[in-house]
């Protein structure tokens, strides 16, 4: 279902970045008129949808997996207490409602009644309690315990109430309860839940789809859960085919072997603009939940000077980046939040493309043109290396374009691409870089403490550029300690202003998510979160159903 992982902020790994980035904020859709006519078609049960996935599942319990394919598979089978709705606001899933006490320290979840696990056992607060205990259990090999360790006390006074208390109010905590709730009655006999058959072979949850089979390396199959608490999904089967190669997947799409995939910008603009493709597919386009940036090591003698960072921001033509890298399918970034969301501040100081201004700023900072055209300062040439990870085509293109832009103002930038693990371990962790081109996924919760706080500059921590600003530190703390959206917005708006002035990163662009879905599927209504939020209401009219041998 490609739902947003509730509270996971991850650097986008090498290959799939754009394709894996889950959500979208939908405004634009090709062939919108056709869709409104189709909306009148009566919903019908049946048929199957075939997705393509670059990666295989590595387990079904999201507590122990960390890859997009596994989290995606789990989202069909499991539910959380909360989830993000189509407008990227938290709503109840297994929790009917929740209350936060005025001091923000206690959250009481009221659970849905009458929900059953796929094996028929009723779901109760015991399951929630069990899930919480397992995730903080040292025997569980999970990387996600941190949010749950903030809990001071958890209790379940009755089968339909679950209460957690925190030492200090912690706003991101609410979203953390979007994690998959696990069945106690099936897992309690396993000391290490990752070794249970629910993780390895056959997940059992409360979700809209029941697990059918997993053929490692080939496909994962799910079947509609007739007893799902929000109603039986219309589409009878969900089949995720594992197709590692992007080109093969695209051919499969064209030949009908898969029904939906995320397109690359070149596929979207050039390779699908045919009559034949339009006859069978709808293309969608939304702002993705991620951005690409140029980050400086702020202790580097060149980049310690804010004037130099500003000069570089002025020297970069972001519009050309969006055109050249994304074929126009994206937008210029000015800060670390997704444009159009409540936390996005559109009024921060921008640094328009202005090479003359860039040169002037550099001159102010003491950089004079040398004999070979490269700037010099006290005998040192302005030469640096930008690092990025290998296997990510858009980052490589970005680097090449930046190289041109910077050389126009007399800065010599070399490009080096390094395999992901070496990139992290040898360069980022050891702070052996001048500048990097990387991307971040953006979570719906605006807490970015780990990226900007001066307390997060240690080994393996994510403020690897070494940004340090007392006001930002204070505001980050403020933002995560209140549930009051207005207060939070104020704090994060100010943070964006400071980031724009200080420029630890030059924010480059936000790409669009570009899914294509076969047009026999109806009921797709793009929203800020993407298209998958109402997946259980997608359907294929009877006369257009394609896979009929799965019907029961």
């Amino acid at each position: 279902m490609r739902r947003l992982p509730a509270a996971v902020l991850v650097a986008m790994l090498t290959f799939g970045t754009i394709f894996l980035a889950a959500g979208c904020s939908g405004e634009k859709k090709e062939g919108a008129a056709k869709e409104t006519a189709a909306m009148r078609v009566a919903p019908a049960y049946g048929d199957a949808i075939v997705f393509g996935s670059n990666g295989d599942v590595s387990g079904f319990l999201t507590a122990v997996t960390s890859d997009a394919a596994s989290h995606d598979a789990a989202s069909y089978v499991f539910n959380g207490l909360v989830r993000y709705d189509k407008n990227v606001k938290l709503e109840g899933e297994l929790a009917e409602s929740w209350e936060v006490t005025p001091d923000g320290k206690k959250i009481t979840f009221r659970l849905r009644k009458g929900v059953k696990w796929h094996d028929g056992t009723p779901f109760t607060s015991d399951d929630v309690m069990f899930t919480y205990r397992k995730i903080i259990d040292p025997k569980t090999p999970t990387a996600y315990a941190e949010d749950f360790k903030q809990v001071r006390r958890a209790s379940n006074p009755d089968p339909h109430t679950f209460v957690v208390e925190y030492e200090k109010p912690f706003a991101p905590a609410l979203a953390s309860w979007g994690m998959s709730i696990l069945p106690k009655h099936l897992l309690e006999k396993y000391e290490d839940i990752s070794k249970s058959p629910l993780n390895k072979e056959h997940p059992i949850g409360t979700g809209p789809y029941k697990f059918v089979e997993w053929k490692p390396g080939a496909r994962v199959v799910f079947e509609a859960n007739p007893d799902y608490f929000e109603g039986k999904p219309y589409i009878q089967r969900v089949i995720t085919r594992i197709i590692p190669d992007q080109a093969t997947m695209f051919l499969e799409l064209k030949s009908g072997g898969v029904d939906s995939m995320n397109l690359t910008p070149v596929q979207y603009t050039r390779q699908t603009e045919t009559e034949e493709f339009r006859k069978s597919y709808n293309k969608y386009r939304y702002t993705a939940f991620n951005y690409t940036y140029l980050g400086f090591r702020l202790s580097h003698p060149f980049f310690a000077d804010r004037k130099v960072r500003r000069a570089i921001a002025h020297a970069i033509n972001k519009k050309e980046l969006v055109e050249g890298v994304l074929f126009g399918l994206g937008r210029e970034a000015i800060g670390p939040y997704k444009p159009g969301t409540w936390v996005y501040n559109p009024d921060v100081p921008a640094f328009p493309y202005d090479p003359a201004r860039a040169r002037a700023l550099l001159a102010e900072a003491g950089w004079k043109q040398g004999a070979d055209g490269t700037l010099e300062n006290g005998g040192k040439k302005f030469r640096f290396t930008v690092l990025t990870n290998a296997g990510n085509e858009s980052r490589a293109k970005t680097a090449a374009i930046l190289q041109q832009h910077l050389s126009a103002v007399g800065i010599a930038m070399e490009i080096r691409t390094v395999e992901w693990a070496a990139f992290i371990n040898e360069f980022i962790d050891k702070r052996k870089f001048d500048a990097v081109i990387l991307g971040w996924s953006v979570t719906p919760d605006p807490d970015q403490y780990d990226i900007w706080s001066s307390r997060k500059t240690g080994p393996k921590e994510l403020n690897f550029v070494g940004f340090s600003n007392a006001e930002v530190d204070r505001l980050l703390e403020e933002g995560r300690r209140t549930f009051d959206l207005e207060k939070r917005r104020k704090a994060y708006f100010r943070i964006q202003e400071i980031l724009a002035e200080e420029l630890p990163y030059v924010f480059l662009y936000v790409p669009d998510s570009l899914p294509a879905v076969h047009n026999r599927f109806h009921g797709i209504e793009p929203a800020p979160i993407g298209i998958s939020y109402n997946f259980i209401r997608w359907f294929v009219p009877n006369e257009r159903q394609k896979y009929t041998s799965f019907q029961k």
Binding site: A7, L9, V10, A11, A48, V50, V57, S58, G59, F60, L61, V64, T65, S66, D67, S70, P138, P141, T142, A143, Y144, A145, E146, D147, S194, K195, N199, K200, K215, P216, G217, A218, R219, I239, R241, I242, I243, P244, D245, A247, T248, L251, E252, S255, G257, E419, A421, A422, I424, N425, E426, D450, I451, G458, P459, K460, L462, Y547, S549, F550
Partner: protein, 324 residues
């Protein structure tokens, strides 16, 4: 002979240990580690979490202890659990991939032999003829063309344009609902492109071997003798020349044994075939140490066994070697 085989087999044990030790060290020298995928660039992964996960996989122990543990398990033929989050046994993961890779490799090997040997013989007998030249160009083209490129072109032609063959995968989605004959046809359809392509790429090596072996043999005195006896060309070529020219093929076949299970990453990735190549590649990318070690050990064992088979086979087929 038996003593020789036993001695050779016993010798493989120290060899395997040496290979595994070197592999283990190289693997550990590569940057990154098994917990990188979960912990790198993940704000929730605190130092404590990292330590805990390292301890979970036994990576907090010094290398010699880790290797010792692994070797101890291997002594009982236990490959251990994989480091992937599903924690499934390495042996299971390998077992479910072997049939696919083996089937494709056997089929393509069969095609290679069936096509390459006649090409080789005919090119040698009719050296510098048109057939020789055309076949040389063709097999070298097959050898030189990047497989993934040709694969994509063929997929486009047969899969998208003509719609005759499926593009990728091993069976169609509705395979289970087909009749027995339907299932067989379904599988065959899925195998046609991968097997043909794998075969096409391998033709060059074999046909050239065969050709040069034949050329060598044809020049021998006993061939001249056979011709002088007035035997027909057919008899000379097939009874006297080919049988001798086939001898070195035994060596090549023996050396191909590890390839049967090796699988090709590029190939399996393009055709979305869940075989050994993909498994190994994923293992390497996620630094799944037990899986990498497991596949390397099997690979090196098969290489050693293949060598032995080649030697034994050669000795059986060629009396000159037996006496020497």
């Amino acid at each position: 002979m038996l003593r020789y085989v036993v001695r050779r087999l016993l010798l493989t044990i120290p060899l395997l240990i040496g290979i595994s030790l070197i592999s283990f060290l190289v693997m550990n020298m590569a940057p990154g580690g098994p917990i990188g995928a979960a912990a790198d660039m993940n704000p929730k992964a605190t130092a404590e979490v990292r330590e805990r996960m390292k301890a979970y996989y036994g990576l907090d122990q010094p290398l010699h202890i880790q290797y010792g543990r692994w070797l101890g398990r291997m002594a009982t033929l236990d490959f251990g659990p994989s480091f992937s989050p599903d924690g499934r046994q390495v042996a299971d993961k390998i077992r479910e991939r072997i049939p696919v890779t083996l089937a494709i490799n056997l089929l393509s090997m069969g095609i290679i032999l069936l096509v390459a040997i006649p090409i080789g013989i005919y090119s040698a007998v009719r050296k510098d003829s048109w057939f020789d030249r055309i076949s040389t160009v063709t097999v070298f083209t097959g050898f030189a063309i990047p497989t993934f490129w040709l694969a994509l072109l063929l997929m486009m032609l047969f899969g998208v344009k003509l719609g005759w063959l499926p593009i990728s995968g091993l069976v169609s989605l509705e395979h289970d609902s087909l009749s027995l004959a339907g299932k067989a046809w379904d599988r065959t359809q899925h195998l046609i492109l991968p097997v043909l392509l794998a075969g096409f790429g391998g033709l060059a090596g074999f046909s050239r071997y065969m050709r040069s072996n034949m050329l060598e043999v044809i020049r021998q005195d006993y061939i001249a003798t056979a011709k002088a006896k007035g035997l027909s060309e057919r008899l000379v070529v097939f009874r006297h020349a080919v049988r001798n020219a086939l001898l070195p093929v035994i060596t090549i076949l023996g050396l191909s044994v590890p390839d049967l299970l090796g699988g090709s990453v590029i190939f399996e990735t393009i055709f979305a075939i869940p075989g050994m190549g993909q498994l190994f590649y994923q293992g390497v990318m996620s630094r799944d140490y037990p899986l990498i070690m497991g596949i390397l050990v099997i690979g090196s064992f098969l290489t050693l066994v293949g060598n032995l088979l080649a030697d034994v086979g050669y000795a059986l087929a060629d009396p000159r070697i037996r006496t020497g």
